[in-house]
Amino acid sequence: MADGGMAIGKPISRIDGSKKVTGQALYAAEYDAPGLLHAAVVSSRIAKGKIIAIDAIEALALPGVIAVLTHENRPHVAAFRYAYKDTVGPPGGPFKPLHDGKIRFADQPVAVVIGENYEAARDGAALVRITYEEEAFETDLDVAKAEPFKPKLPRIGVKPAPKSRGDFDAAFAAAAIKISAAYETAAQHHNAMELFATTVVWEGEDKITVYDKTQGSQNVQLYLKQALGFKLKNVRVVNAFVGGAFGSGLRPAHSAFLATLAAKHLKRSVRLVLTRAQMFSITYRADTRQEIALACDADGRLLAVRHACVAATSKNEDQQETVVNWAGLAYACENVAFDYQLARVDTPTPGDMRAPGAAVGVHVLECAMDELAYAAGIDPLELRLRNWVEHDQNDNLPLTSKAQKACYAQAAQRFGWSERSFGPRTMRDGQDLIGWGMAGGVWDAFVAPVPTRARVTWRRDGRLEVAAAASDIGTGTYTILAQIAAEAFGVPVEQVEVWLGDSTLPFNPVEGGSWMAASTGAAVARACDKLKVALVKAARKQFKLRGRKGALSVSRDAVIGEALPSRAVSLNEIVTAAGQDITATGTTLPDLAGQRKHASYVHSAVFAEVRVDEDLGVIRVKRIVSAIAAGRILNPKTAGSQIIGGVVMGIGQALHEEAQTDHRFGKVMNHSFQDYHIPANADVGAIEVIFVQEHDPDVSPLGVKGVGEIGLVGVTAAIANAVFHATGKRIRSTPITIDKLISA
């Protein structure tokens, strides 16, 4: 990148790579402790009702089983729902594990079996006999959506649906070219590869170290303190390595609560690992039912836009995402109507999953734009260009940058879009129908909404240390923070050591919303600036330069200046003379004034080729080109992997992924990797990522926008539009499975 330096912008291999390829990186279930016990969860067989009786006799008789904890015999925990609130949850009352005998959703945890080893706990859990009294329940959104409601309280940090503008009804009625369609998106599960796991090390009277799979160590620390009555200083949460999360680890998982409860009860160290099946009862991407209507003039200019959504939420909380807003800001239009409502089902509370809201909302918008392009007889890419806007019409704010035209142009050129024939079913290769589809993508460019801190230290061993309670969930946080510090001092990246994932380190919010690179990155840069000042001060002290003339400054690993004996003193000498490591802390604050003056988004253009077997309906994604405008790219290698990962998840959302609930039992039936298919290697064709040049000094202190979500946005629509181009069939329900395609 042109605005890169010595380290920033370089495609450096991730610095934690060698630990990960040798098996040395430790995840939550991999820390040992003396006398470690193992815990397993018993899950509710029914979806709603109450527990009548618990018979743990057989379980307790199993050799190696130590205890069975239920709501009847658990130690005292907080009773009020506020104690279970975390920093990112939606309005409502959080689920309180083992609180009482009520069953609120299928596979709800109802007991914890603790054993001397894993097998005893697991087998003991199978022997706990529970008698239930069942009640009527509803898990089907298509039934629940008959009683939609607007959430009473907005979710903090999530934009509610904007006020409608202009006159949609009149403009739509008067327009000659228009489309109106209903779409549905399936519930999805994050299914990170690592199982939810917690190892609680009992350090002594009411003091614990908790190794947990989470996207925010300090969020879990606060939760365990409040819910289980520990002192904050006596709870240390570590998540140095996280085996993927994609949003599932934003809120504290019940596994963390249950493992800590068991440890507190027995005053012993305990490890609890959920099964893959049990992970389907933590949270999920809400299924949605959406309606969209677009109208344009003969030139393709949008005259009217309406986007409405009903999304699932639980009975106890109002999960909210930004689903319909994108329709009001992606393209220029004066007459726009929005509606965003929820409907309650008897499930765990849905949660954020990669690009929450946009993954389903932009999908529908971008499919609808393709429908409109065909109604108007205009090339889908051309239609988007004709509705170009560089202003956030929802909030009436200018944008800090929008290099999406470059995304369209470069991706289209790379893909060969000009070779495409407009009509559906006009391209084929033998038995395969070929489809080319495209879509635009958009996501917020966030700076974290709370102060974000980092500490930088020049150590006496000559290492530059960066420390922050941020998380690296596979995103490359370790690496980019090392690059930022290396850049600030002009030292090799290898000289930098990064410590993350520990609640004792400087404050960071949860890793989510693609804000970490911008926020923690800027905190590191500021800490480096302050550290240079501190090092200069130490040099002045060492050489008694107080009051004397002569500016000193830090250049690479030395303080330089005319006033110094040899014009330069190495930083190592300074810290040695000081007798201690020299440290400084930097903070990034949300730019509240700037947020009132302008808006920032990250943009993309996605082009997809699918091959559809004409007889069998098998859809294969042959290749995808994704161009991204995300401001300054700190590391094109790790950022590129983020985009590729988003594309792969988009393939899953478009073609494979769907929680299949049997509504007679209220239970997700395909709760395994065998039955809930996530893309495998053979499902993924060629993926090409382009980062377009985008200079944006106003979005964040380093000009960074974040790349964690945008890779997914638009992918599903590009694939769905390609399926239409190949087959002439518009499948308005994701995933687009063979049965839907064949029967359409």
């Binding site: 291999s13 991730r14 790579g17 060698s18 630990k19 990960k20 390829v21 040798t22 098996g23 040395q24 995840y27 279930a29 991999e30 040992d32 050799p63 190696g64 001397e116 080893n117 894993y118 097998e119 005893a120 087998d123 994050h190 299914n191 990170a192 590869m193 690592e194 199982l195 390595f241 996280v242 085996g243 993927g244 690992v273 099964t275 893959r276 969930i473 596979g474 995103t475 490359g476 290698k637 790790t638 590129g640 992997s641 590729i644 990962g645 594309v647 792969v648 998840m649 395994s672 990797f673 065998q674 996530i678 893309p679 495998a680 290697n681 053979a682 499902d683 993924v684 060629a686 993926i687």
Partner: protein, 164 residues
């Protein structure tokens, strides 16, 4: 340390080291590696042989260790991710995975690499599509597949070149 009353003796060679062990008949090789031998490089992602994160080499073949009861492999030679590097030198596949950024969260990575070691030993992969197909037992939710294939192809083609 607690020993299950049903434990029976077995002998394994793990990463070149002879180990006399005891395990109950229902203990999987994966759990034995992780919990008894503290070799946590082999990962548990499903415990059902559906994700491949637990892939290790048993007597030179890639196997899902979560599907193997340890006592059924008495006398076997097991190689895990911890046994691939020689001294301080990474196995060529380990290095290739770093160079191609064929990993993100790293959780599936040991299984991917062990599976790739097995794949190359089998000699059935002759092109990218073969690798994609024959590596499809190893899921990666971060979606590093294209880079995983790049890494394996680099080592495979390097080996083909060396043999020519």
């Amino acid at each position: 340390m607690y020993e299950d009353p049903s434990a029976i003796a077995l002998h394994l060679t793990v990463n070149g080291e002879a180990r006399d062990l005891r395990a109950a008949p229902w203990v999987t090789l994966l759990d034995l590696l992780r919990e008894t031998l503290k070799l946590t490089g082999s990962k548990k992602g499903c415990d059902h042989g559906q994700c491949g994160a637990c892939t290790v080499m048993i007597d030179g073949r890639r196997v899902n260790s979560c599907l193997v009861l340890a006592v059924t492999r008495d006398g076997a030679e097991v190689v895990t991710i911890e046994g691939l590097a020689e001294g301080g030198t990474l196995h060529p596949l380990q290095q290739a995975f770093i160079d191609h950024d064929a990993l993100q969260c790293g959780y599936c990575t040991p299984g991917q690499i062990c599976s790739a070691v097995g794949l190359l030993a089998e000699g059935n992969a002759h092109c990218r599509d073969d690798v994609r197909e024959l590596m499809s037992g190893n899921l990666c939710r971060c979606g590093a597949y294209t880079h995983i294939v790049d890494a394996i192809e680099m080592v495979r083609l390097g080996a083909v070149e060396a043999a020519a």
